[in-house]
């Protein structure tokens, strides 16, 4: 199931609900699928020192991230019997309430889809060279740190 060609995971701007809809729709022909799991990251209006986050500006070391993603994809397919998996991450300015991460796993049975998706999300957050800069309503900025 794994393929070695490098898929671009990066999207300029937010990931739209209609893009997600189309992605779900495309799977209706794959009738060996019984379960999908989808994780979505949404920009949260965090407050710090009386200021509120209005957007996150994402940048990445794209070449390295795509190489790493090939490795992660292969390891996930080796560890979980998935039908397919898809990862999309935003670049650029993403406003609060918009979606910046879309991780989608599909399998015959629920446990594999759910576990693979959770593992993928953790690995994306800890291993891909992507940086988010939080933009506050007074114009100040801080570099986000993943927990």
């Amino acid at each position: 199931m794994s393929d070695k060609k490098i898929k671009n995971i990066f999207h300029q701007g937010p990931i739209s609900p209609s893009f997600i809809m189309e992605s779900i729709q495309k799977h209706s022909t794959k009738t060996d699928i019984g379960a999908h799991n989808i994780f979505l990251g949404q920009i949260r209006a965090d407050r710090k020192d009386g200021q509120e986050v209005t957007a996150i500006n994402y940048t990445a070391y794209e070449d390295m991230a795509l190489d790493k993603m090939v490795e992660i994809r292969e390891e996930i397919f080796a560890n979980y019997p998935l039908t397919c998996l898809h990862v999309h991450h935003s670049l650029g300015m993403i406003a609060t309430g918009e979606i910046c991460l879309f991780v989608f796993t599909s399998a015959a049975h629920r446990k594999e889809a759910i576990d693979a998706c959770e593992t993928l999300v953790e690995r994306i957050k800890s291993e891909l060279p992507i940086w988010g800069e939080e933009i506050f309503n007074n114009g100040s900025q801080t570099w986000k740190i993943n927990k």
Binding site: G41, Y58, T59, A60, Y61, D63, M64, D67, K68, H89, C100, L101, V121, I124, K125, S126, E127, L128, P129, I130, W131, G132, E133, W143, K144, I145, N146
Partner: protein
């Protein structure tokens, strides 16, 4: 020998550049020493070094064709 070093995230801001160039850095230990000498701000920030798109965990010989990058802690997703 001159080596190009890509900068990302907060390091672009701190050094006010997308990349820097360093001379006479035969390996990654020398690179780190020279970097921190030239840019004292780097001693205060946590970052890792990637060579040819792989994070390095020990000293590694560098050449002019090496793709070197300084990576602050990741915060994607």
């Amino acid at each position: 020998m001159k080596i190009k070093i890509l900068l990302f995230g907060q390091l672009k801001e701190i050094l006010n550049a997308d990349f820097i160039e360093m001379k006479d850095v035969g390996d990654s230990d020398i690179l780190m020493e020279k970097l921190k000498g030239k840019f004292p701000a780097l001693t205060d920030i946590s970052f890792r070094v990637a060579v040819d798109k792989n994070l390095i965990s020990e000293n590694i010989v560098l050449s002019e064709s090496s793709e070197i990058a300084l990576l602050p802690p990741f915060s994607g997703g």
